[in-house]
């Protein structure tokens, strides 16, 4: 087990809390940098997908996991980003500028959608975001002159100020760079007053207010940042898929995003990436397993949806802290072995008002 002796405040401010973090995240980065050169193309495209969904998941994590505002319409922000990117690159905008514009457009839309969050919370907010997502999807279908309607829109390669490339390798590194930057940005926010204000709003709006936190400002900000990241992910996925249609950004996609943060573990940055890896890998695993299952089960239509549903229910019932929570428990087990006991990770739940009567 590692004992940390704190000798300066910087140890609590730094991102890497100890040398182990530097080592392991360094190795992860080294692996991700080498992966497309070593692994087959198929696997590196899966990693690309996971990174893109990780970015979107980060955004939703900030909103739901850290600010406590739930959105079942997050795919709509991806849609805004994707279509903005498609339209702007078709007009000849260079890739980075188009990307920035797509993020900005999503952020603005996010801030507007955030308005109901100033009045309603919980399930009502979720319904408001759902309604918004339907509006966006409908707009994408009807606004045929720009979006091509249901026929969809083709997206070109990446134009880096004149140097055009369709290479998956370059795209992989762009996604890697952006997902690292997005993660660092979110981590920076979380260790600064802005991030603490988000967490304060999640845990107690009334005392957040009394601490001088302007609820309207920070809720709108959280929505805008979250939507900007979803827009970034959407724009990247447009380049990856090369062809976008409105139904890619519907309710099913939104639920997938919600799955990412719930299964990954609400309230952890790791969770966004764990969740997206889960989301990308599960269909592959199911496809592989199909051959080994009895045909009656293996060939059933909708097997994947059923399995998804079961897994989600299992997580909500048995591991509400998600994959990240499971990982933390596993790590604690190794650190404390053989002293680990079953109740270690258990939080005292009934420790509030009634506790003193008992």
């Amino acid at each position: 087990m590692r004992f940390l002796f704190k000798t300066s405040y910087d140890q609590d401010i730094r991102l890497a809390r100890h040398s182990g973090h530097v080592l392991w995240y360094g190795l992860l980065l080294a692996f991700l940098s080498a992966a497309p050169l070593v692994l087959p193309n198929y696997w590196s495209s899966l990693i690309t997908m996971a990174m893109i969904y990780g970015i979107v998941g980060l955004g939703l994590m900030l909103l739901s996991g850290y600010t406590g505002l739930y959105s079942i319409g997050h795919a709509a922000f991806m849609g805004v980003g994707a279509y903005m990117q498609a339209v702007l690159t078709a007009k000849g905008w260079p890739f980075p500028l188009a990307l920035a514009a797509s993020m900005a457009a999503s952020a603005v839309v996010g801030a507007v959608v955030g308005l109901p969050a100033l009045r309603v919370r919980g399930i009502y907010l979720a319904i408001a975001t759902l309604a918004f997502a339907f509006i966006v999807q409908e707009a994408l279908v009807r606004w045929e002159s720009v979006t091509g309607g249901n026929h969809g829109l083709a997206v070109g390669g990446i134009d880096l100020f004149g140097w055009e490339t369709g290479s998956p390798l370059v795209f992989y590194y762009i996604c890697l760079l952006l997902s690292v930057l997005a993660t660092l940005g979110i981590l920076n926010l979380l260790r600064s007053p802005t991030g603490r204000a988000f967490v304060a709003i999640r845990d107690s709006e009334i005392s957040a207010q009394s601490m001088g936190i302007d609820l309207a400002h920070y809720k709108t900000l959280s929505f805008a940042v979250s939507a900007a990241l979803a827009g970034l992910g959407g724009a990247l996925s447009a380049h990856l898929l090369r062809f976008i249609t409105p139904d890619q950004f519907g309710i099913v996609q939104s639920i997938d995003l919600l799955l990412i943060v719930t299964i990954g573990g609400l309230g952890s940055v790791h969770g966004a990436f764990f969740g997206s890896i889960f989301l990308i890998l599960t269909p592959q695993v199911i496809a592989l397993a199909k051959d080994y299952l009895p045909p009656a089960i293996g060939q059933t239509v909708g097997l994947q949806s059923v399995l998804y549903g079961l897994v989600l229910m299992a997580f909500v019932l048995f591991e509400p802290t998600g994959i990240y929570g499971r990982w933390v428990k596993l790590r604690t087990w190794f650190e404390l072995a053989p002293l680990y006991r079953k109740g270690h990770a258990k939080r005292q739940r009934t420790f509030q008002k009634t506790e003193r009567l008992a």
């Binding site: 600064s192 007053p193 802005t194 603490r196 009394s210 601490m211 001088g212 008002k353």
Partner: protein
């Protein structure tokens, strides 16, 4: 001495219920001012009016020359008013340290973009905030709990953490809503010392709602007794305790009390 907080003819109605009616008083700098009264007298409502969680129907509140009657609740903290709650309102899933750092919100440095890239000046400000938070941790003896998550703390410690979070604002007026409720004798004793220290060392005025009369007499400079949303008596703790209206509010009419006394063998 000029008043730090002055409340003038303050009243609020919830539908047909006048929870607070025509209350006027002022709190001077470095004063401990206590609100007492039976349950439902409107003490907490009055506190919520001052911290702007409720909108008053009549009257005005002035703090340090600013009229705060129509101010947003989040702006009150910036002026220098901090508060605690009757049913502890801490950030449950954060550590003590993180809770206290949120108390530094009004004195934060930098905007969103600077926080996003965590510039050098933001880092400096974080160090400074931590230094200030550590002062408060030392002041209230919370060293032991620094990295504990609130959900795992005993009730008495949570009360202290909430007080500490309010102090991290470096307020000039501290509103305490029943600070001793749920504390044992020893913890209440500590609280009395801290209230004295907060006034003497930090120079903060305190406006509190409290039921424990021995604590009230020990720390308060002036006491306002309320009943049914109205003022019953205002004065030093001894004056208020001897006031017939206060005895009546708690025990009933004078002759009824006398009758009780005679009945005793």
């Amino acid at each position: 001495m000029s008043a730090l907080l002055s409340v003038d003819d303050l009243g609020v109605r919830f539908g047909g219920l006048a929870a607070v009616r025509g209350i006027s008083f002022d709190v001077r700098p470095r004063e401990v001012f206590t609100l007492i009264g039976p349950n439902g007298a409107g003490k907490t409502t009055l506190l919520n009016l001052i911290s702007r969680l409720y909108q008053p129907t009549t009257g005005d509140i002035h703090f340090d020359g600013h009229c705060i009657t129509d101010m947003k609740p989040s702006r009150i903290a910036g002026l220098g008013i901090a508060r605690t709650f009757q049913n502890i309102e801490l950030f449950q899933h954060a550590t003590v340290l993180q809770n206290l750092l949120i108390g530094r919100h009004t004195r934060r440095h930098g905007n969103f973009w600077q926080h996003l890239v965590f510039t050098h000046s933001v880092r400096e400000a974080e160090r400074a905030a931590r230094t200030k938070v550590e002062e408060i941790i030392d002041f209230l003896d919370l060293q032991h709990y620094r990295d504990t998550v609130i959900a795992g703390l005993p009730y008495g410690v949570r009360k202290v953490v909430e007080l500490a979070r309010a102090l991290c604002l470096e307020p000039r007026l501290l509103l305490l809503d029943e600070p001793s409720s749920g504390l044992n004798t020893e913890e209440t004793n500590d609280l009395a010392f801290w209230i004295d220290d907060i006034r003497e060392e930090l120079g903060i005025a305190i406006l509190m709602v409290e039921h424990d009369m021995s604590l009230v007499s020990r720390v308060s400079d002036r006491v306002l007794a309320m009943n049914y949303g109205e003022r019953v008596a205002l004065g030093t703790p001894d004056e208020v305790k001897a006031h017939p209206g206060v005895i009546e509010a708690y025990l009933g009419k004078g002759d009824e009390v006398l009758a009780l006394r005679r009945a005793r063998p």
